[in-house]
């Protein structure tokens, strides 16, 4: 059982404060959804936790199983068990998915240890079959010329192979039509289980029809302003974000 604790986290890009005191704890097996209007700091939160160099953590802490990860480089955080599924995954021309994943797994081995190629391909193909991904996919360059749906499936495949303790999924639904969305959600549901904690960042409720969260949090102006169960997402869908804003304004005024 692992635990990812985000404690009163403040994040800035340059001088501009974006995340302004966010606290949240995720345990293995849980799926938390963070919803909120655009520009509220959702993506910043995920990139800061993953260790993007452009995001400065000005105060607060992020602990993985009780240990702060803030001093770690992005690659060290990944090897410690974090995974970021990107909203806009980078294209890496000339590097096949098979070689890319192999390098990522190799990075997790001790020096001098080599990946067993046969076992690697066996496992890769098993994961691809599980996620219903065509095997031809492995020889294509990472995200190079991929459709929106292919890029997101490629993220899910990487997640399946790297088996993180926690996955931060940034707007996984953006740019997907309903069929692609269903396929990607199915992939996440397949990987869901007692050893994985998920933080699902989304603007729209529709993703949550397919990936049903255990907890829903509403983020506004760099903070979580409301938390609840999966029904909160439906309430938000019905009433819109203005409802939260008004409630918040009323609370601040009082």
């Amino acid at each position: 059982m692992s635990q990812l604790e985000i404690k009163d986290l403040h994040v800035a890009i340059g001088e501009k404060a974006i995340v302004k005191g966010l606290t949240l704890t995720i345990r293995s097996g849980e799926v938390h959804a963070i919803m909120g209007p655009n520009g509220t700091g959702k993506s910043t939160l995920s990139k800061a936790i993953a260790g993007h160099p452009d995001y400065t953590i000005t105060s607060g802490d992020v602990l993985l199983d009780g240990k702060s990860i803030l001093e770690l480089e992005a690659d060290e955080r990944a090897r410690a068990g974090l995974f970021l599924a990107f909203q806009y995954p980078s294209e890496i021309p000339g590097v096949s998915i098979a070689n890319f994943l192999r390098a990522a797994l190799q990075a997790r081995l001790a020096e001098g240890e080599e990946i067993d190629a046969t076992a690697y391909y066996k496992r890769l193909y098993a994961k691809m079959d599980m996620l219903k991904i065509d095997r031809k996919f492995t020889s294509r360059s990472v995200n190079d010329g991929f459709s929106g749906g292919e890029k997101k499936r490629c993220e899910i495949l990487q997640m399946a192979m790297l088996e993180p303790k926690f996955s931060l999924m940034d707007e996984t639904d953006s740019g997907l039509d309903i069929d692609a969305l269903r396929i990607v959600a199915e992939g996440v549901n397949t990987l869901r289980g007692p050893n994985l904690g998920v933080l699902l960042i989304t603007h729209y409720q529709r993703l949550l029809n397919y990936i049903v969260p255990d907890f829903v949090h509403v983020m506004y102006d760099g903070r979580i302003v409301k938390s609840g169960g999966k029904d909160l997402a439906l309430e938000l869908e019905a009433k819109g974000y203005d409802w939260v804003k008004k409630e918040l304004a009323a609370a601040t005024a009082a």
Binding site: P53, A74, D75, R77, A78, R79, F86, N99, A107
Partner: protein, 439 residues
């Protein structure tokens, strides 16, 4: 040539004095007189030509101060047995150590019976004098290193001679190895490939040092000649020690409907100058000129190329890719010349630089000189910094910076490596590049 030019200043000849040259001639076995005459003339040329100057256009951006020839010496013949296999199947193999043939694996009897020759230049000079005389160092030096070409000719002791007769196809590559051993050793590797009408051959050449820490002076050259309809694939792997000063002067002649594909991999040396001249002499000739460079620390790779279209309906395609790390420097200067009657020329020249460090320096000087009016010529150079988001993407998968650089470099090189038809060669090159990233 007057006697005064022979008593040149040490600055212009360094260790390669008239006495050293006389000792070199004395060390050779009996060789044809025409060749010894050419060597003497070459020595005079070498001694009289000035060292390159900073103001020479063909040396623009090059570090001239570090070209000194002082301190190097011709090695005593060595019994060095150093050899590192590159893991490919070969039809024949010649290994040279310090300018002498040290090991050979002969051709299969059936190829030899069909007239294929893979032999030392010394033997070929004696046994196949006319062929050697016609093609050995027979092309003009137009890229700036005439002095070093003359030095090469003067001190060339031995090298490889590959001849494939009309209509014969050699399936497996011919493997050639040149090693330098011992501190401050000077080596002069040479490879001459003559592919007669409608023949096919692949030659894979490796240049390396017996010890990583020794400095060498390597002054090599090759001549590739593709007769009508012939196909030559040449792969050169330059992996000298990183304190070596290296020159490699390559010449390719392509005749009617012939095709030459050359790929030069540059990894070693502290300063490496490579010059490649391709002459497309008859209709249907095609020259594909490829190069990959991984430059790190303070290495300098200086690449000068010339594609000359001398006949109509000829094609050349040049793609040089450099990956630069640390404080490394590369220079690419390429020129396409299209002669007045070379209509329907199709010429392409591209230099791409991937900067893996902010302190590295890539210089590019692409050029065209077109005298025909119905041609298609494109040239260009790009230099781009590794993308930060790409780097973060890789890191977010657990891959550290160094491994990320390696992976992105391979991605960058992939389209060049994919031009090789042989998977085995592709893998051998990948392994060699990988070993550089482990240094």
């Amino acid at each position: 040539m007057s006697a005064s030019t022979l008593s040149s200043t040490p600055a212009t000849v360094g260790a390669f004095t008239p006495e050293a040259f006389a000792a070199h001639l004395a060390s050779l076995p009996p060789l044809p007189a025409w060749w010894l005459d050419r060597k003497r003339a070459a020595y005079e040329r070498f001694a009289s030509l000035p060292m390159p100057k900073r103001t020479d256009e063909s040396w623009r951006f090059s570090n001239i101060a570090t070209l000194t020839l002082d301190g190097f010496a011709l090695p005593a013949p060595t019994a060095s047995s150093h050899h590192a296999p590159i893991g490919i199947q070969k039809s024949a193999k010649l290994v040279f150590a310090n300018n002498r043939l040290s090991t050979r694996e002969p051709l299969a009897a059936d190829l030899a019976a069909r007239g294929v020759i893979v032999d030392s230049l010394q033997n070929a000079l004696v046994r196949h004098g006319d062929l050697v005389r016609e093609h050995l160092l027979a092309q003009p030096q137009r890229l700036g290193s005439a002095k070093f070409a003359a030095l090469h000719e003067a001190f060339l002791a031995d090298g490889a001679f590959v001849y494939v007769p009309k209509g014969v196809e050699v399936e497996l590559p011919v493997g050639l190895f040149s090693y330098a051993a011992g501190a401050n050793t000077a080596v002069f590797p040479h490879t001459l490939v003559v592919a007669a009408e409608n023949s096919r051959v692949t030659v894979v050449e490796y240049f390396g040092s017996a010890e990583d820490h020794d400095a060498h002076f390597a002054c090599g050259a090759n001549d590739l000649y593709a007769g009508h309809g012939a196909q030559i694939v040449y792969v050169g792997k330059q992996d000298w020690s990183e304190s070596t000063l290296s020159f490699q002067l390559n010449s390719t002649v392509v005749r009617r409907d012939a095709r030459v594909q050359s790929l030069n991999l540059h990894l070693g040396a502290r300063q490496a100058r490579s010059e490649s001249l391709s002459q497309l002499q008859a209709p249907g000739a095609f020259s594909e000129m490829l190069a990959l460079t991984v430059a790190h620390d303070a290495q300098e790779f200086d690449q000068r190329t010339l594609q000359i279209h001398q006949a109509p309906n000829t094609k050349s395609d040049l793609l040089y890719k450099n990956a630069l790390r640390d404080k490394a420097k590369t220079i690419f200067s390429g020129l396409i010349i299209v002669d007045p009657d070379a209509q329907q020329t199709d010429a392409y020249q591209s230099n791409r630089n991937l900067m893996l460090s902010d302190d590295a320096e890539a210089n590019a000087l692409p050029g065209l000189e077109i005298q025909a009016n119905d041609v298609r010529c494109t040239h260009g150079a790009t230099t781009s910094r590794i993308d930060r988001e790409q780097e973060f993407y890789l890191q977010s998968r657990g891959i550290d910076r160094a491994a990320a650089d390696e992976l992105i470099t391979f991605g960058f090189f992939e389209d060049v490596l994919n031009r090789l038809a042989s998977d085995e060669l592709h893998t051998a090159l990948r392994n060699l590049i990988q070993s550089k990233f482990k240094k």
